[in-house]
């Protein structure tokens, strides 16, 4: 099957839109900086005002790059889960990996009852944001291992889905216990973390996030055939010589890397993972993952960049947490698209 030129045109159009959204995100913020100034920051750094340079290069650019990574990762993770479980409500957090990351963060932030242990960790030289990220990665990795062990024993993907949800809610219950016994300030810190943020990832952290998300995306691209086959049913996939268990393991690994790393660095960002695959299927009217994966990357990125732009409208000095915006902006969009949809979905 050759891809129609029409789809290539759409992909190119989305790419242009992405560039525009990126520029828009760079040029909006609580501080007013003209487009000319922003260009000067990049083109002739010596002539630019050092304050504008700091804001654009150290605050806005890392944030926009994080939005690109998170937008790609979460949408592709969501697409993989929806296909694996053949369920339109699946998203990257459905396996409990996000909850695992939250558990790791809660363990660090809500360590009120055992301040001494926290000091012990700090003595290891791990502190600040790295401590939180490390804890989140450990939590997400632990849950991912658990899910993989279970996945090897289960034959049915639907059962796998239920087990994932069970593990997730168990993890959240553990966090709730922790919250119940913690100080209000600590709970507030944790609550702020759960609102999600694209703004805290800079420098070395951004590079690490880029590498992990990159690996997750490459694995996803290599799994397109498996995903396409899975859409036709597990029996059909097996008749094509595909081991369902192997496919499941590969897909779970990819999604866990994507969702786990993004949650570790940005906090849980909802909605993108569940909504973007639907938008991609609607725009491209295809079930082929060779098209859907790049499409999800582009749409997810555009959506998250726009949400970040909305989160910091000029005129106000405050930024709203990204999680609020993704749902408020995204939900109506999906509803409109679904209402206009005429063809049936492939699952």
């Amino acid at each position: 099957m050759t891809e129609s030129p029409f789809k290539k045109i759409r992909l190119t159009g989305l790419l242009l839109l992405l560039l525009l959204a990126f520029l828009l995100d760079l040029s909006t913020g609580t501080v007013n900086i003209s487009l000319k100034e922003i260009l000067r920051v990049f083109l002739s750094p010596t002539a630019a005002d050092p304050t504008w340079q700091f804001i654009v290069k150290s605050i806005r650019l890392p944030k926009a790059c994080t939005a690109v990574l998170a937008g790609c990762g979460l949408s592709v993770g969501g697409l993989q889960m929806q296909t694996l479980f053949r369920n339109p409500l699946a998203d990257p957090s459905i396996l409990g990996v996000t909850a695992g990351a939250s558990l790791g963060v809660a363990a660090v932030m809500l360590a009120g009852g055992s301040m001494a242990s926290l000091y012990a960790i700090k003595d290891l030289g791990l502190s600040g944001s790295w401590l939180i990220i490390g804890a989140a990665c450990l939590g997400a990795g632990g849950i991912m291992l658990l899910v993989l062990i279970v996945a090897r024993r289960l034959r049915d993907n639907v059962m796998m889905l239920i087990v994932g949800i069970m593990i997730g809610s168990m993890t959240l219950a553990l966090i709730s216990i922790w919250q119940y016994f913690s100080n209000p300030e600590e709970v507030k810190d944790y609550l702020l973390w759960t609102f999600g943020s694209l703004g805290g990832v800079t420098g070395g952290q951004l590079s690490i996030l880029a590498i992990v998300v990159g690996i997750g995306l490459v694995v996803a691209l290599f799994s397109t055939k498996m995903l396409d086959a899975l859409l036709l049913g597990e029996n059909y996939a097996q008749s094509m010589g595909l081991s369902a268990r192997k496919a499941r393991t590969v897909i779970i690994c990819s999604t866990s890397l994507l969702a786990g790393s993004i949650t570790a660095f940005c906090g849980p960002i909802g909605f993108i993972g569940i909504a973007v695959p639907h938008i991609a299927r609607f725009l491209f009217n295809t079930a082929s993952h060779r098209i859907l994966i790049p499409a999800c990357c582009l749409i997810g990125t555009i959506l998250l960049l726009l949400c970040d732009t909305f989160a910091q409208l000029p005129g106000s000095q405050t930024v709203l947490p990204i999680n609020i915006i993704t749902s408020i902006v995204g939900s109506p969009l999906v509803i409109v698209l679904l209402l206009r949809q005429t063809t049936a979905h492939p699952w």
């Binding site: 304050t51 600040g128 790295w130 702020l192 405050t318």
Partner: protein, 382 residues
């Protein structure tokens, strides 16, 4: 550990000193005519004196509400006067109390009655050696955090009063069981005050509860005079260094609003504070980007919380290296006197000794305006 070893005698001094003095004025006060207390700064409560009792009202001034919580302070055994059916009754002088907040410990210490504290919310935040000693020997119990108090333990301890940190607006949701059991619950919301002297003046409530008005008034007057003298020096300073406060978290930077306690303190210390004209008494939630133009050029960076070294600041976010105050080393936080759990005395004795906090800030902002001395609560972050 050496840090705490140095700190310890210093603390003994502050806590022990006030505890030795009092007995004599207290003894005369319990007789018929109580000493009067007048409030000059605090806005959150009133004390009225009547023939045989005192009346305390905790005011509820948030959200424009005019409700008050009424308390009758009655000598032990005295009958409740008529027309006060809705008021909670506290028998004075209070002989035992459970306190939920660090400032309450400091207030009791100020009034020389820290030995009457029989329970605290969470022991690990306590600095006062007398209370810590009590926790060790079991004389002082931990009753749990606000919102999840061990009601049975509190009731069995029969304290003369339970002091909470709750906002008077939301006061009694979780305490009805205790009030029904006859334990007076008093929101000691000094943290709602918007001036350092107003916050410190809550010691007078402690004075009224323990019939120690004379001692407390005298000590507060000297605090007030010291504060005013220092504020005159701070305000008169020709150079006003610019300051930023706090560390952002996840892209949001909480700056004290113009009407807040901290903004007042900065003004009295002779600092130039970018958000001093903003409305509100709480914090402003600002984006990193909004603060950045100010932060890049600010002379001094204050109150970064429990972060204890410049390396730890960078571990939070490497971008802070671009701040002028970071590069020049003018970063200060209130971590000089901390206990082994990392709790700072700034939140405890600092609440009733605003003159020491102000002196620290003036020494930081205007190094030559006061005689050279070590800082009390603040230290330079290196």
């Amino acid at each position: 550990m050496t840090r705490y070893a140095i700190l310890f005698p210093l603390l003994l001094l502050s806590c022990g000193r006030s505890d030795k003095k009092p007995a004599s004025p207290g003894a005369t006060l319990t007789s018929s005519a109580p000493a009067r207390t007048q409030l000059k700064y605090a806005k959150g409560f009133t004390i009225d004196y009547f023939d045989r009792y005192k009346e305390v009202k905790i005011l509820n001034h948030s959200a424009g509400s005019t409700d008050t919580l009424d308390y009758l302070l009655l000598p032990a055994g005295a009958a409740i006067p008529e027309g006060h059916a809705h008021a909670q009754v506290i028998r004075i002088p209070v002989q035992s109390m459970i306190v939920m907040g660090s400032p309450h410990v400091a207030q009791a210490d100020f009034a020389g009655v820290a030995n009457r504290i029989t329970g605290v919310g969470d022991g690990q935040y306590i600095i006062c050696p007398l209370v810590r000693e009590g926790l060790r020997t079991g004389r002082v119990r931990q009753v749990g955090l606000e919102g999840s108090l061990n009601n049975e333990l509190v009731i069995s301890m029969r304290p003369g009063v339970l002091m909470t940190m709750t906002n008077p607006d939301a006061a009694f949701g979780g305490y009805t069981t205790l009030i029904d059991a006859g334990i007076p619950v008093l929101p000691n919301a000094d943290w709602l005050e918007t001036t350092p002297l107003g916050k410190a003046e809550w010691v007078k409530l402690m004075g009224a509860l323990t019939d120690r008005e004379d001692l407390v008034n005298r000590k507060f007057d000297s605090v007030e005079q010291a504060y005013q003298r220092l504020a005159a020096i701070g305000k008169a300073s020709a150079v006003k260094p610019s300051v930023i406060i706090g560390l952002p978290f996840k892209g949001s930077w909480y700056m004290p609003a113009g009407g807040s306690y901290m903004a007042q303190l900065l003004q009295d210390a002779g600092a130039s504070y970018h958000w001093s004209d903003t409305k509100g008494t709480g914090s402003l939630a600002l984006s990193f980007e909004t603060v950045a133009p100010v932060a890049l050029k600010a002379d001094i960076w204050l109150d970064i919380g429990d972060v204890d070294s410049k390396a730890a600041i960078l571990a939070r976010d490497a971008r802070y290296e671009a701040f002028r105050a970071f590069r020049s080393g003018a970063v200060y936080s209130y971590n000089r006197r901390v206990n082994d759990a990392g709790a700072s005395d700034y939140w405890e004795s600092g609440a009733v000794n605003p003159q020491w906090v102000l002196a620290d800030l003036i020494r930081i902002l205007h190094p030559n305006s006061l005689p050279a001395d070590t800082l009390i609560y603040y230290k330079q972050i290196k």
